[in-house]
Every structure is written in structure tokens, then in C-alpha cells.
């Protein structure tokens, strides 16, 4: 496994350094949710989840950060992020790692780098899967 250098054109299979986060959603920390809300522990547990579900937009924010770090300014004008939220979801306080591996480099001037991306929980489950891409240029 190699680690992508920002100065180099990455190759398929190259991986970005994992971004570790402790998941936090302010609304879950500060509010009480109704008995039929996916942010309610009892309701989600009754439906087979480990606890209240973190919102997709929170997870999307975590997944975006390593793309900003890699692509820099280009991510703001050419970045594309597509995510699926699967399995038992993510809960408040979970330790997760956001990962990215180059799927392909599309020819062009500049080329577009396409990553497979994922969020991995401490138990190895991957509740977020998807792709991210942007034009390679304007890196920070």
C-alpha cells in the first residue's frame, strides 16, 4: 500500500491517510427527540439499530474533509461526492476512520481523480460507502 503524495498524480490503489474522528451531532447532544424519531435511542433500538442514528449530513461532512485536504481549491468547484448509508448506521461518540483509495485517474487536462471512499467503525463495519472525485489541480 502506498500513500498519495499531494505533489504526485496518484495511481489506482493509492490510499489517502485515514482521517480519524469521534462522531458528534450537536442536536443529539442537546435535544430530546420524539418517540418516533430516528434520533431517539429507544425507537431506533426497537428497529434493530444500536442507538440513535447520526444524520447523513454529519457523515457527509466528515467524508468531505479529506477531499478538501487532498484536492484543495479544486474540490470547491469540481468536487463530486456520492455516498450510501447502510447497515446499522453511526451512533454518537463512535470512533470512525474516513478512508479513500484511488479507483481511477480519468484522462484530461487536468485529470479527474476518482476515489472509492468509506467510513469504518472500530468494529470494522463500514456504514458509509461511496465515491469522490475532482479535477487534479489547485491543490493546497
Amino acid at each position: 500500500m502506498t500513500t498519495v503524495s499531494e505533489a504526485a498524480v496518484p495511481q489506482p490503489g493509492d490510499q489517502l491517510p485515514g482521517l480519524a474522528k469521534t462522531v458528534f451531532q450537536r442536536a443529539i447532544a442537546e435535544r430530546e427527540f420524539s418517540a418516533d424519531s430516528i434520533h431517539n435511542d429507544d425507537y431506533t433500538r426497537a428497529h434493530g439499530y444500536p442507538g440513535a442514528l447520526i444524520s447523513a449530513y454529519v457523515l457527509a461532512g466528515y467524508m468531505s474533509e479529506p477531499m478538501v485536504s487532498f484536492f484543495g481549491a479544486s474540490w470547491f468547484s469540481s468536487g463530486e461526492l456520492a455516498l450510501r448509508f447502510i447497515g446499522k448506521g453511526v451512533q454518537q461518540g463512535d470512533k470512525v476512520t474516513c478512508g479513500a483509495s484511488v479507483r481511477e485517474v480519468q484522462a484530461g487536462s487536468p485529470p479527474r481523480v476518482v476515489f472509492d471512499v468509506w467510513m469504518e467503525k472500530a468494529d470494522g463495519a463500514r456504514p458509509v460507502l461511496g465515491t469522490a472525485s475532482a479535477l487534479l489541480g489547485g491543490q493546497s
Binding site: K21, T22, F24, Q25, R26, F33, S34, D36, S37, I38, T44, H47, L53, S55, A56, Y57, V58, A60, G61, Y62, M63, S64, E65, M67, V68, G72, A73, W75, F76, S77, S78, G79, E80, L81, A82, L83, R84, F85, A134, G138, S140
Partner: protein, 160 residues
């Protein structure tokens, strides 16, 4: 749409599937992308990128590209329905331009589709967010699960 449920069985009680009209416009939803809101984002996401609070390649500070990404669609849906039991199933964003901090972001959307998959009901919302000068900054497509209540799976589900 060929969704299948038992007669009289409603999965999402807050957003009856039948009440969703594909093609219905949603919004606009507006929010001020203030320094305080961006600082809150940086704290909550533990993302200390200096471009969000100071000089950036675009001049002054800009909003994190994921700011409200995947949330605006729920606000749009919530403008018509009680969306508290919904869950994001898929989200896709295309960044078009940076959004300077201090501007309003305006998001307009449309109900692009609805479907039943493995006994669960979904709605698809496409939306575009604009800076206050009308510059489009982000396009999004979100698949939203209406409820975790599940019906019997039948061969009539319109997506597999």
C-alpha cells in the same frame, strides 16, 4: 409507480407515500452562512481548515463545501411534510463554486422520484444551492427513507 403494500397498510404515517407528488417544487430554503455558523461547523466537525475563518485561495473565508450538504433536502422536505422520522439513504453532491462566508445560501428543490425498495419507502429530492448573487454553488440528489417501518417484501417492489 408500482409500489406494493398490504391493503390499508401505511408505512410512513407522517409522510403518506400517496401524498408525495413527483415534480412538486420545494423551497426555497434560505440560511445565512455567518461566521458564527461556520465556526460552529468547524467545532462540531473538528475541522480547523483556516480557509473557513481567514484568507483562502478565493480571497476571504469560504464555507466548508459540505456545509448543509445533505441537510438542505430535509429542510426542503420539511417545508411540506413532517420529516422527523426520515433517514438519509443516499446523498450525492457536485460542488460548483465556493460560497463566501457572510452570504445567504438559497436552496431550491424538486421531488424527482419516489419508490419502494425491499419494503421501504423512499423519496428522491434534487436541489441546487445558490449564493445570494445567484451563482450556483452546489447541486445535490438525496434519497430519503421515509420511515424504518417495513412492509412485507413483494415482487411488486419497483426497485431492487
Amino acid at each position: 409507480m408500482g409500489h406494493a403494500r398490504k391493503e390499508g397498510h401505511r408505512l410512513s404515517t407522517l409522510i403518506p407515500f400517496e401524498s408525495i407528488r413527483v415534480g412538486e417544487e420545494l423551497g426555497p430554503f434560505e440560511v445565512l452562512v455567518s461566521e458564527e455558523a461556520v465556526a460552529q461547523y468547524c467545532e462540531d466537525w473538528a475541522d480547523a481548515n483556516p480557509w473557513y475563518s481567514g484568507p483562502s485561495p478565493f480571497g476571504g473565508p469560504v464555507a466548508p463545501p459540505a456545509f448543509l450538504a445533505g441537510l438542505a433536502c430535509f429542510r426542503l422536505l420539511g417545508s411540506k411534510f413532517n420529516a422527523r422520522a426520515t433517514i438519509g439513504a443516499q446523498t450525492a453532491h457536485r460542488n460548483l463554486a465556493p460560497l463566501p462566508v457572510g452570504q445567504r445560501m438559497i436552496t431550491k428543490g424538486v421531488i424527482a422520484d419516489k419508490y419502494v425498495k425491499r419494503g421501504l419507502e423512499y423519496v428522491v429530492i434534487t436541489s441546487t444551492s445558490y449564493a445570494e448573487d445567484g451563482t450556483p454553488v452546489r447541486e445535490s440528489t438525496d434519497h430519503i427513507l421515509l420511515s424504518v417501518e417495513r412492509a412485507e417484501v413483494t415482487s411488486d417492489d419497483n426497485r431492487q
